[in-house]
Amino acid sequence: MGSLFSQIATVTVMNVRSLPRRLWMSLAMVLASAVVVAILLAFLAMARGFERTMDGAGSEGTAILMREGAASEINSVISREQVNLVEASPGIARDAEGPLVSPELYVIVDGIKKSTDSEANIALRGLNARGMAMRENMQLLEGRLFTPGTNEMIVGAGVLREFDGFAVGDEVRFGKNVWRVVGVFSTSGSAFESELWADVKVIQSLYDRGSSVQTVRAKLENPGDLAPLEKTIEQEPRLNLEVQTEQAYFAGQGKQLQYMAIFGRVISFVMALGALAGALNTMYTSVADRAREIATLRALGFSSFSAFCGTLAEALVLAIAGGLLGSLAAFLFFDGLNASTFGGSFTQVVFRFEMSPDLLLQGAWLALVIGFVSGFFPAWRAARLPVIVAFRNAA
């Protein structure tokens, strides 16, 4: 008998070659592994896509001020007087035209969703040129910016994808107000892409908001440093506001989808247990099926270790095949899939499933674990199979 290595190689090749003979069992194992990997990847891709949308929206360098106790932008109100007080605060970046501060309004309007053909909430944000400049990753994809003082608006690429009637040139009616879409913008996939933007002054007058706004964004002098602003708020009783970085705000808004990601992990874990049971069954049956074959090899002088490795290798080959199949299916079905759900402010957030290489790697690991666990115990049994089986009758 040759070296241990060549023994293992011989047994492995023999086992793998005999797979087609046990076609249905082998397919079951592949399928079990594939489904677990596909489910895990689907949930991970969803969580990743949503995270990307939320994280991309929030900048460390921007502070967001809202009325104390307001959990989200929609609940906040800030008066003109308060805006002026904020503008005078230290800690805010300035340029030639003064402090980089953007007072913004946030109104919820109805749009018709393509997928369900029913009404869903969209955020209509009122802001000015400074506010737009503050979103560093904003890019105009089509058309032009709105002209201040007119009923013009620009729409996020996500809105265009998920809702009907927001193409450039379209007229959009909210209540009795008619708006004209003049451009499409992108913010590299972040949550702002799910919004409509128009001039803050026009929205103030059309929606009876007087001179009040809902939130104030301010460019920080030193990114992440809120201390000067916090001090201003503390010392000025008229400022019943709360300040946080935009990043912190959006991270908080993304919380509810984190629950979905946890839910997804729990489901994939439990499902993995079920599929593992199926895979173990397959491998045990495979060993039982080849008991005579294995025993005969052992009688010929092959070591029990080579029998062990052969069976383990068979399980790994099947599980990896399943993992590849599952990843491929997940990639084809889920990568770039458009999805939308409620964000934090009662409005729709549009995002895309994102299947990145590191997720695929996680899927591959899972497949390996399934292969190893479902191969190890049956392989153990194969290794301990008494040689005498070879001489018994099949009956």
């Binding site: 399928l31 899939l337 999805a339």
Partner: protein, 385 residues
């Protein structure tokens, strides 16, 4: 010894395999039961909403206000029986994460429109007389241990109190129950007038109107009349049935829900396919034994029944155990989830559906080997073995 004894002996001959098979089925049905119930709870808001109530909201979006004058105007319209108005308070108790469904309402008309709200007459009149009084649902009372006469501080994530802060003190005037068990009593209502007097914005806007018509057949006409009469005003309206309104609201959770349920159900069926395959092969392994039974004189029909019963038994054992586990899981999670999903109950249709799938699994996996057994030629079977 009976045929049943034979079936059980056949089934348990490889305990490990039986365990693994049942376990996989168990998991599949655990997830099926839990996820279907979850989905049912999400959808229940639609089913429980009354079909004969109409909701009037701002055409721009339901989060935008309407003027209070609309209340009188709609009340005077032909075909409208009762109408009330409500404001969303954005309430929470102590901590912003402990959200409470809280609404400021016009008390008398509220109780007329929501006639499924059941309340003792003395509590009712106590509430109507006490401006600071709040009416709370039985479920809410249970969760927080509130009793009549308790002073409860409720905060708003939207409004500020005139005296500073965001917290209002209410007195529990009454605790209501629902006309039937499904009615969700997990909310609080209080006086609109008290709300308007104490909040900083002042003004007299309302959130939305809810109304009943003289007859459900008039719904469409009434809705149209309302929307037309406010067309081209500063506040245009959008009137729909409460059911349609709730449905649209739930649909906003988006295709995320659809995608998740789709993925889970695909996985459920895949596990069944994997398990079914093992079950079918387990029986096929016994071709030789079946041939012996036939030689001994067991009829094909009898063997067919035995094989089929075995796989049905395996499917039902694993499946029912999984369903039971799902039930326990849901009962356990019920209290924790009560605020988000008030109707987290495993419905009879879920159970029936699950049992249907179990039978299907048992039949499909058993049928093929059973038919093979039926057709089995003893001579070839022995040559093979």
């Amino acid at each position: 010894m009976t045929d049943f004894y034979l079936i059980v002996k056949n089934m348990t001959r490889k305990p490990l395999r039986l365990f693994l098979t049942c376990f996989a089925i168990f998991i599949a049905f655990l997830i099926f039961g839990a996820v279907t119930t979850l989905k049912g709870a999400l959808d229940s808001g639609i089913d429980l909403a009354a079909d004969d109530r109409l909701v009037v909201v701002n055409r721009i979006n339901f989060t935008n206000p309407l003027p209070i004058s609309y209340y009188r105007k709609v009340a005077a319209m032909e075909g409208v029986r009762n109408v009330t108005h409500m404001n969303w308070f954005g309430g929470y108790y102590q901590d912003p994460t402990q959200q409470l469904v809280t609404m400021a309402v016009e008390p008398e008309s509220y109780l007329r429109v929501y006639d499924e709200v059941v309340i003792e007459p003395e509590q009712r009149s106590a509430w109507l007389q006490d401006r600071q009084g709040a009416l709370i649902g039985e479920k809410l009372a249970k969760i927080h241990g509130w009793k009549i006469g308790d002073r409860i501080p409720i905060s708003s994530s939207i409004f500020s109190h005139r005296d500073g802060g965001h917290t209002w003190d209410f007195v529990v005037s009454g605790i209501f129950t629902g006309e039937n068990e499904q009615y969700d009593t997990g909310y609080l209502v209080f006086h609109y007038k008290y709300f308007m007097e104490t909040q900083t914005f002042g003004g007299d806007t309302i959130g939305w109107l809810t109304l009943t018509t003289e007859d459900p057949s008039l719904n469409e006409a009434v809705a149209k009349r309302i929307d037309e009469s406010f067309a081209n005003s500063q506040y245009e309206t959008d009137t729909s049935t409460e059911k349609a309104f709730n449905k649209a609201f739930i649909e906003q959770i988006g295709n995320i829900g659809l995608i998740i349920f789709g993925v889970v159900f695909m996985a459920f069926f895949t596990i069944l396919v994997v398990v079914g395959n093992t079950m079918a092969l387990a029986i096929r392994e016994r071709t030789g034994e079946i041939a012996v039974l036939k030689t001994l004189g067991f009829s094909s029909a009898r063997i067919f029944r035995m094989v089929l019963s075995e796989s049905l038994l395996v499917a039902l054992i694993g499946g029912l155990a999984g369903l039971a586990a799902a039930w326990f899981l849901i009962e356990g999670a019920k209290a924790a989830m009560a605020r988000f999903l008030p109707n987290l109950v495993m419905g009879g249709d879920t159970v029936l559906q699950a049992i249907g799938f179990m039978l299907l699994l048992g039949l499909i996996t058993g049928l093929l080997p059973a038919i093979n057994a039926l057709r089995l030629n003893i001579v070839t079977a022995f040559n093979r073995g």
